[in-house]
Symmetry: C2
Subunit: 481 residues, 2 copies
């Protein structure tokens, strides 16, 4: 493997990270918080480490990454930023425990949003800003990953399954993919600022607006408020619902939309399915909670819609503790954790398109049962999905279930009750954040066993990087020769 270049990349990433970290100092100055020095030291450690790695390796650099290098680089980029990202928490004392700080940072960069913090509002705002910023950086990372690092454009023109990622030469990226990445970043940043503006029009402070905009567009879910978005006006909640939905869409579709290609957007099968699921489950949940009584129709629909969109997009914001709803309602919510957002979005999880392909494959199978000699093929958005791709999709689903199962067993063995075990694993693998059992939206992950926190951090990483990118590092195949 080309470790020289890999280290060089890590160096560049850390320099970028250090610069981002510096911005949190602004808030320490604005709010007159006594953590300026600690944040400065954090940034400098990160910057100096990054610069060191860069300077050590920039000479005689062969800018080429093989397949193995790519998988390794992607996984360890997230690991390394998660380690340096703990510095602001640890040095300011906002989170004294190393395991907790790693958990919170991994949760940030993977845009999961699980938190070990109980009283957010007692923390320095600069640290809370850093916390939300990790989400936003993570979201940018995912966009570059989907567009540039896993660039095989298969179904509907996007690399859906990311399985057969061909050899990536770093130079090759420059002309087309880099410009696409920039466009999609442009959309990401623009939507963030539009959302911020809309939140400011509501009753939100500048600080809260910025934080929530970061968490929404990255489908992260950290809030600087103890009550998440529960304490805000219905206007704010509707705005956040809309932008969570947008963040869960394929960003290419936003691009097409901006370019006026409306038919291409509205005919997209994944988008239609995603919208359909949101509508169907919202109606189901709204009916259940309305029939419980005590709330009006508008509130029932708003609460249901907010939670459904929040969970399917894997954002994980809460306006209401869904676990206090009737069991039928939160069971539906829990099942959404296995649906996930659209491919090419900042959301995590299994993703809608995989469900669509699985379902279409079942239909094809029925058709083959009746007409064994037919040569019917699977088509999605006009492109053929061959059996090999379906096989790859299976691998993903099987690995997802296997990881979910093993994760749940481990959590049970660590002493968590079944619902908490299953809920925490589903919520963290899926990048959602709040789960069920004792890790619901009204609770935190503070009480989870230390080993459990490490397991969940690992699951966040696996889920965020589409499983195989990380898991392949644990195969003997990867390390042979």
């Amino acid at each position: 493997m080309n470790f020289r270049f890999i280290l060089n990349i890590f160096g560049r990433v850390l320099i970028l990270l250090g610069l981002f970290m510096l911005t949190s100092i602004i808030w320490a100055l604005v709010y007159n918080e006594e953590v300026v020095e600690e944040l400065l030291v954090s940034s400098l450690i990160t910057l100096v480490s990054g610069a060191g790695m860069y300077l050590l390796t920039f000479r005689n650099l062969k800018k080429e990454l093989g397949l193995k290098d790519s998988y390794f680089t992607v996984t360890f980029t997230w690991v390394i930023i998660s380690l340096f990202g703990t510095l602001p928490y640890l040095l300011t004392g906002a989170i004294p425990s190393v395991v907790d700080a790693v958990f919170e940072t991994v949760s940030g960069f993977t845009t999961t949003g699980s938190s070990i913090l109980v009283d957010l509002e007692s923390l320095p705002k600069s640290v809370l800003f850093w916390r939300s910023l990790t989400h936003w950086i993570g979201g940018m990372g995912i966009i570059v990953l989907v567009v540039a690092i896993l660039p095989l454009l298969r179904i509907g023109g996007y690399n859906l399954f990311k399985n057969e990622a061909s050899g990536i030469s770093y130079e090759k990226l420059t002309p087309k993919t880099a410009s696409t990445a920039k466009r999609l970043w442009g959309i990401y940043v623009s939507l963030t600022f539009i959302l911020m503006g809309l939140l400011l029009l509501g009753d939100m402070s500048f600080f809260d607006a910025m934080n929530h905009a970061f968490s929404t567009m990255s489908t992260g879910g950290f809030s600087p408020r103890n009550t998440s978005l529960g304490g805000y006006s219905s206007y704010v909640q509707y705005v956040v619902i809309l932008f969570m939905f947008l963040a869960g869409m394929n960003f290419y579709l936003h691009y097409h939309f901006v370019k006026g290609r409306f038919r291409r957007v509205f005919s997209n099968l994944e988008l239609r399915t995603y919208f359909g699921i949101v509508m169907a489950v919202t109606i189901g949940v709204a009916v259940i909670i309305y029939r419980e009584g005590g709330i009006g129709i508008e509130k029932a629909i708003r609460d249901a819609l907010f939670q459904v969109v929040s969970i399917i997009t894997t954002t994980g914001f809460a306006t209401y503790d869904y676990l206090s709803w009737p069991q039928e309602a939160w069971t539906l919510i829990f099942m959404l954790m296995f649906v996930g957002a659209c491919v090419g979005s900042t959301g995590g999880g299994v993703k809608v398109i995989r469900h669509v392909v699985s379902f279409r494959n079942v239909t094809l199978h029925f058709s083959r049962m009746l007409h064994p000699n037919s040569v019917k093929r699977l088509k999605i958005n006009g492109e053929i999905i061959d059996d090999e791709k379906v096989g790859s999709l299976v691998s993903f689903l099987v690995l997802y279930l296997l990881t979910f199962t093993i994760g749940s067993i481990i959590m049970v063995l660590l002493g968590e009750d079944t619902l908490t075990a299953v809920g925490s694993v589903a919520a963290n693998m899926g990048g959602v954040g709040p789960g069920i059992g004792s890790v619901g939206p009204a609770s935190s992950y503070a009480h989870i066993h230390e080993t459990g926190k490490i397991v969940l951090s690992f699951l966040m990483l696996i889920g965020r990087l589409e499983l195989t990118t990380v898991l392949i590092l644990f195969t003997s195949l990867f390390w042979e020769r």
Copy 2:
């Protein structure tokens, strides 16, 4: 569709069923029970209905079944025997409610073993015999299904996935498949009698030995005793463990074994995996329950082994209420419900070979990630599994999960708690019988909502007939033209 021939087949099946039913009268006479008349009437209704269907259709019969006819015939054979099979319960008053009687009979013929009966020992022995007999008949039906009706011999010489069942002409079956079916029936019957003999050598009565032999070899799980096998000696329990394990094996392997082809048996990948899972989970459970204290090593191992074999083979016998074990132990037991026995056995569920293929497919996928141009293929027992077959396997897994999910949602909507909902659906789709929550081995299904019982009966049928055989009847594709 050739309804004339289908009706003719149903006629024959009902005549056979009526004859089986007659044998329960023997026990009414032996034990001097006042249900002879009712059992006689039940048998006669069945015999006359069968004869009527046969006589109506036997002239000018075109003995040919298309694909649609086959799927329809298989599904409705189970439906029809389940309807006529309720007569002994209903007419003797042993089970007064029609829904309960249908549930118990479907549970019998699908070899599931879920029961709505609470006090078995208060019922006439002749009725209990009929109950166990439904298992045994169901097991025979499954063998003929696997060997003759779904005869595409693909992986390792057996029709593993049953997906592309080619057109079946009834005559075609006669020469080879019918003789194979007879051989496997021979093994099934022989093993049943050997087991009966071994149980008689223990402290078991002739009646109990026969009933338990029926339930064991069919992996059914009905017992005529309230305490299932809990009240018997450890000798009896070990014998039952061995024969449950044998019943969960591919019956072709028994045939090879009898023919002295030992290498073929012991090198079989599915058998090795099946054995490996049993050993691994038994050790895990034994350690957990031994550490709880209060029992010796032998008892811990025996209880663990009994439960593990009982659940993985989908028999569902109990010597102990596993729900009273620590949560870690019964979580493992619950997960076994998704493993299932071997293909070609009388057991139900997903089946070990499907897990093996899924897992191998993941390995292949990793290999393709590293070597995108390799032409490596999936091989099981020396035979290539192509991508299309993997695609079919996916359909099965996706349908299994989908059915499980929808089933669980329905059970939750019917008011069951989450564990009971999930447990009852898993246990009945998987053909296991006892689940978790309020339908554990120490409870029954008596308290489940009436609609829930119908849903679970339907799930037993779907699970037993490998999902697609039943579900294809609900596609528009099946009914078009």
